[in-house]
Symmetry: C2
Subunit: 382 residues, 2 copies
């Protein structure tokens, strides 16, 4: 085993933990905080709650809520302007992956300047970021604990993966009650993102014993609780389990990185305004099938975490059972089998495939992948 | 579930990771570092290695190596003098639990002043500590990742448990190669400490899903690898597994705290110069038996982590099997069944039992314990 590094924020987990937002931010030394969010989170009432908890702690704040799905570099610039104009010195993100990724990207620009494109790739951030408190409201992106921020370069129509230890928030607040306002479709999509994080990080070439325990536990929880979580907004046991699954999968992939599903998903998401979780869900079984020969034993372990009895199965059979499990889960919770509404030219397939190969997540995929293989895989899901 | 907090340092794990000591310390902003160690670690060559890695990184240092087993408040004062006299601004601990606990306690005095006794208990540290880099050379105390420091108050002959988030090091380096210089007896004793951490944190009333995964994985690893690790200095697979077990048990107990075995062990260790790990190992089966009725299901899960097939067992039988497992493991690796060389009066039993009840670790023991019950348990092991 090589030398492995494992970084996490301080984690505050539990029902109603959102109440600690103001106090936690004060602990980080904040004098005035920028609260980053989006309209959906605001409509669900969570933004207002965070504002109230800051007020209760006598912590002044400004807000920035112009974040969209697959957020763009231009949104980061606008957010950074709001941060500087209001003389903030700390950032709270309250929302799903898009919001938290923008909150992190604003932090980069706030103290490092330049264009957000300058930071694409691994370890490009030189100066310390302002204190970051991330409150996640989807289970989900894992951004509340990860060293990732993914932002669309609007000129190149490319999702840029920014990876840096500086992006690990200081504090992550995970309050399962925030999941009670998600509709079933969003619960399904974000839940499949969690599953993809767990599986890709478990077979990543950068996996370590520390990331493995997190990935396996996340896999256990998603396998048991995603269906009931999609079925009911008020199933608190399922919400709590999915919040924990998201967190643990986040800890796993933040430190073990991801693989081909995310690399291709980022490349597609840069061109089409499709949900990241849905693209991942559709790609995942194909990527698992492609990757199987790189790590047959790991795929047997994945099947076991899903609750499959592998004792009488060959490794290939166990791998297939795991792939079938993912497909059946997708069907049960209403994920389509193919990418919808995409009219795609051969030229665009070429360009997306090329971008996928250049994505930082491709580096840790357990099986080498060439352009033709990406294109073949891509054609399967169109 | 209540709101739970989980704090960890940045972790650097792997063979030869000790080489990163200087560079990691520079990253923390150190200009001159105090390296805390002891004679055993110096004799084994690890102190010299760390000094070399600091020199290689052009990081000036001073050293303090006057740390003993069950380290005392007076050693902390001496270490702090060395820190201040040499105008250090960061601390490296390289050694086992005693060394790392002293390194942390020096850090407390360096920026908070007063007497180390002022900080006994939970959350008594007001001011930020200097950057802390902990390099563990036993598997072990878990101090490299924990928010604990245990120091003997030489006047009261009492081990003081100091618990504070400030004590979580900034960076922990865990290099399994450092375990290759431990003799079999130290490997056995420190390994049983790991087992005690895993079991006590798993049944602690402050256990959370995040600590549970760490505790269970540590339990798996100790159950499988402690015997071979004691058997051979050069079994690298076993050393790596025990280093990981120590780290994970440390993450578990740092965040879930411990129980009666540690509370009583601290009380004994304040009066007698016996090894902490050995006292724990001897107490553990008795504490498990006492605690069983508080968490029968958890004891079944503990048995399963040990590799025991519990499917045909009642909860009581599974609990007994787990207790037997601990006893057999102790016998196999040469741990005595009773505390040796202690000539103890009834008065002293009273005083030790009283101190045990006051120890911070007793708060999270799953079963309430009164003075008579501590005394009865104590008499079993004398």
């Amino acid at each position: 085993m090589n030398i492995s590094k494992f970084v996490t924020p301080e984690i505050i987990f539990g029902k109603y933990s959102i109440k600690q937002a103001g106090e936690a931010c004060l602990r980080l030394g904040a004098k005035k905080v920028l609260i980053v969010s989006d309209q959906g989170v605001a409509n669900a009432g969570w933004l207002e709650k965070v504002m109230k908890h800051c007020s209760d702690s006598n912590l002044p704040f400004a807000t920035f809520t112009d974040v969209t799905i697959n957020p763009k570099d231009t949104e980061v610039i606008d957010g950074c302007r709001t941060y500087l104009h209001n003389e903030c010195d700390a950032i709270i993100g309250v929302g799903g992956g898009s919001v938290l990724d923008v909150a992190k990207a604003i932090a980069i620009l706030a103290t490092n300047g330049g264009s957000i494109c300058d930071y694409e790739g691994i370890d490009k951030i030189d100066f310390p970021l302002p204190p970051l408190l991330m409150i996640m409201t989807t289970a989900g992106s894992g951004s509340e604990v990860s060293q990732f921020s993914v932002i669309v370069d609007s000129k190149r129509k490319k999702k840029m993966t920014i990876i840096s230890k500086s992006l690990v928030p200081d504090i992550a607040i995970v309050d399962p009650m925030t999941l009670s306002t998600k509709d079933s479709s969003l619960t399904a999509i974000t839940g499949m993102d969690v599953l993809t994080h767990a599986i890709e990080s478990y077979v990543s070439i950068a996996a370590t014993p520390l990331t493995d325990v997190q990935a396996k536990n996340a896999l256990n929880l998603v396998s048991a609780y995603l269906r009931p979580s999609v079925a009911s907004k008020t199933n608190e046991e399922a919400k709590e389990a999915m919040a924990m699954a998201s967190l643990q999968a986040g800890l796993a992939f933040s430190n073990a990185i991801l693989g081909a599903a995310h690399a291709i998903s980022h490349a597609i998401g840069g061109n089409y305004s499709l949900s990241h979780g849905e693209i991942n869900a559709i790609l995942l079984p194909y990527v698992m099938d492609f990757n199987f020969i790189a790590a047959p034993k790991r795929f047997t372990e994945i099947a076991e975490c899903m609750g499959i009895d592998t004792r009488t199965l060959t490794q290939r059979e166990a791998g297939n059972a795991a792939i079938s499990f993912v497909k059946e889960l997708s069907v049960d919770i209403g994920i389509p089998k193919q990418l919808q509404k995409i009219d795609i030219s051969n030229e665009l397939i070429n360009s997306i495939s090329q971008k996928a190969l250049e994505d930082a997540c491709m580096i840790t995929n357990p099986r080498d992948m060439n352009l033709e293989q990406v294109k073949t895989l891509l054609k399967n899901v169109l």
